[in-house]
Amino acid sequence: MNVNKPSVSQHDAHRRQAYDEPLWWGLFSAGGVCFAVIMPAVILFIAVLLPLGLLPAEALSYERASGLLFSIPGLLFIGAAVCLPLFHAAHRLRHGLFDLSLGNDTLNKKVMYGLAALLSLLALGMVVAGMLN
C-alpha cells in the first residue's frame, strides 16, 4: 500500500506553539455571531428591500444614510457588519482552501487575514473620513 514516511525535522517543526491562532479563532467566532444575528436583517433591508423600493422613500435617502453611517453608532455598525464578518469569512476561506488542498496554508493565512484587515481599515477609515467632512 502507498505509505509515506516523514523526516524527523519535519516533525519537530510541528511542535511550535500556535500563539496567533486564538486571535484568528476569536475574530472568526465574533464574526460568526455577527453574520448569524445581524447580517440577515442588514442584507434584507439594504440589499433586498432598498433596491426593490419597498422602503419608505426617505428611509435611506442620501442625507439620512450619511447621517446614520458617519457617526459613532455608524462606526460600531461597520465593525459588526463589515470588519468582524470579514475575519469570519477569511478564516473559513483559509480552512476551505486547506480542505481542498489548494495553495499552502502559511501563504493562504497571510493573504486571507491580510485582506480582511485591509478592507476593515478601509471601511473604518471611510466612516471617519465621512465624520470629518
Partner: protein, 131 residues
C-alpha cells in the same frame, strides 16, 4: 517510540467531501461566506458612493437593483440564515452556559439566539420602516 518509523498514509484527495451527504453539507456551511463577501464588497462600494455625493449614492442604489446583484444578495440572505441555523446549535456545545450551578438546556440557548435575530430585524424595521 521513534516517530519517524510510523507509517503515514498520503493525504485525502481534494474530492473527499463528495463522498458523503454530511461532508457536502459541511462544505455548503463553509461556502456561506462566499455570498457574504459579495454583499460586504457591495456595502463598501455603497460607502464610497456615499462619500462621493447624492448622485453617486443614487447610482449605487440603482446598481443594487440590477437583477444579478439582487440575486446574489438574495443568496447572501439565505446563506446568512443557513449559517445561523448551523452556528446557533454549535454555541451551547462550545460554551455550555451555567446559571446558578444548573446548565441551561441547549434548546433555550438556540431559541435565545433566534430571538436575537428577530430583535435586530425589528430594530431595522423601526429605523427604516418609516420615512
Amino acid at each position: 517510540m521513534d516517530k519517524s518509523t510510523l507509517q503515514r498514509l498520503p493525504p485525502l484527495k481534494r474530492t473527499w467531501w463528495l463522498k458523503h451527504r454530511f461532508f457536502k453539507l459541511y462544505m455548503v456551511r463553509e461556502a456561506t461566506v462566499l455570498p457574504l463577501v459579495f454583499f460586504i464588497l457591495c456595502l463598501l462600494a455603497g460607502m464610497i458612493s456615499l462619500l462621493q455625493g447624492p448622485d453617486s449614492w443614487q447610482g449605487w442604489v440603482a446598481f443594487m437593483g440590477a437583477p444579478i446583484v439582487l440575486l446574489l444578495n438574495l443568496l447572501a440572505l439565505i446563506a446568512s440564515l443557513f449559517h445561523a441555523a448551523t452556528f446557533f446549535v454549535l454555541f451551547p456545545r462550545v460554551m455550555p452556559l451555567r446559571i446558578a450551578g444548573r446548565s441551561l438546556p441547549d434548546q433555550a440557548i438556540v431559541a435565545g439566539q433566534w430571538a436575537g435575530v428577530l430583535v435586530v430585524a425589528l430594530l431595522f424595521l423601526w429605523l427604516f420602516g418609516r420615512a
